[in-house]
């Protein structure tokens, strides 16, 4: 994460996400998967509990994050402002 902060945040709607893992593949630096397959902010990526559902992404990752929004089979992702 650059010192100037995230370029955007990737919001995960947990009521929709089914943990299919596409987003974690597209954003390997930002997301891993938890025990059950759901996207998990990579270690060191989030500062507070609230960030876990709004994962900060860098400018370089923004395009991949938008792809994830488009490809998520359950429309569970959304880009929000930092």
């Amino acid at each position: 994460m650059s010192p100037i902060g995230p370029a955007a945040r990737l919001h995960i709607d947990w009521t929709r996400c089914d943990g299919r893992g596409l987003c974690a593949e597209l954003l390997p630096e930002a997301l891993t998967r938890d025990d059950w397959g759901y996207p998990l902010a990579a270690p060191g990526r989030v500062r507070s509990g609230a960030d876990k559902s709004n994962v900060p992404v860098t400018g370089a990752e923004l395009a991949a994050a938008m792809d994830a929004v488009k490809l998520c089979p359950l429309l569970a992702l959304r880009i929000t402002r930092p």
């Binding site: 089914d18 943990g19 893992g21 596409l22 593949e25 059950w36 397959g37 490809l71 089979p73 429309l75």
Partner: protein, 189 residues
């Protein structure tokens, strides 16, 4: 023209089958050997769109062909055709379903997941209709190679469907199964 319509029809059938198989694989959340999950999804989408292209190539020439005697209404409304109306009607129904599935797929971000998923389920109805139409309607539908190909496609889709319904279908099924039981009775039914 007539021959071209036949060949493009068979190609769309193969592509539709591939799309159904890839769709089921994508739903399982698994990568395909070395192909990552998002590529499986992209492949599923692109092959479906390719199938649509071939469907257009399949239907449009028949419209122009005087021998086939197919008009615009027959393309949309089933069971009105003059040549084998039943088998052709199955193809028409399948075509309508493809149109619904593709349109809701393209606009799914606007329609929301519920509509998208409900309509997408129609793919499972579309596929057997399309196959029946290929075999029953085609002039060479009963020839040995076509029948053999139809059997292969059938086995593949049936196997995938059986896998789809099995308990271990989801990539994460094993670890998730240890979870608690569903709580029932949320609010008004």
């Amino acid at each position: 023209m007539w021959a071209f319509g036949r060949v493009s029809g068979l190609v769309s059938m193969v592509l539709l089958t591939a799309s159904v198989l890839l769709g089921i694989l994508a739903r399982s959340g698994r990568p395909l050997l070395v192909i990552p999950r998002f590529s499986v999804t992209l492949l599923h989408r692109n092959i479906s769109l390719l199938a649509v292209v071939f469907l257009v190539l399949h239907v449009a020439p028949l419209l122009l062909d005087s021998y086939a005697r197919v008009n615009v209404v027959d393309v949309v409304v089933p069971f009105l055709g003059s040549y084998k109306p039943f088998w052709q009607g199955l193809g028409t129904v399948a075509l309508d379903l493809v149109a619904a599935v593709v349109l809701t797929g393209v606009f799914r971000h606007r329609l929301g997941p519920r509509t998208f998923r409900t309509v997408h389920w129609l793919s499972y109805a579309m596929w057997p209709l399309a196959l029946a139409h290929s075999v029953g309607n085609g002039t060479d539908g009963t020839s040995a190679p076509v029948v053999a190909a139809a059997v292969v496609l059938c086995v593949a889709v049936l196997a995938a469907a059986a896998w789809r319904m099995s308990a271990g279908f989801l990539e994460t099924a094993a670890v998730r199964r240890s979870g608690g039981n569903a709580r029932k009775g949320w609010g008004r039914p």
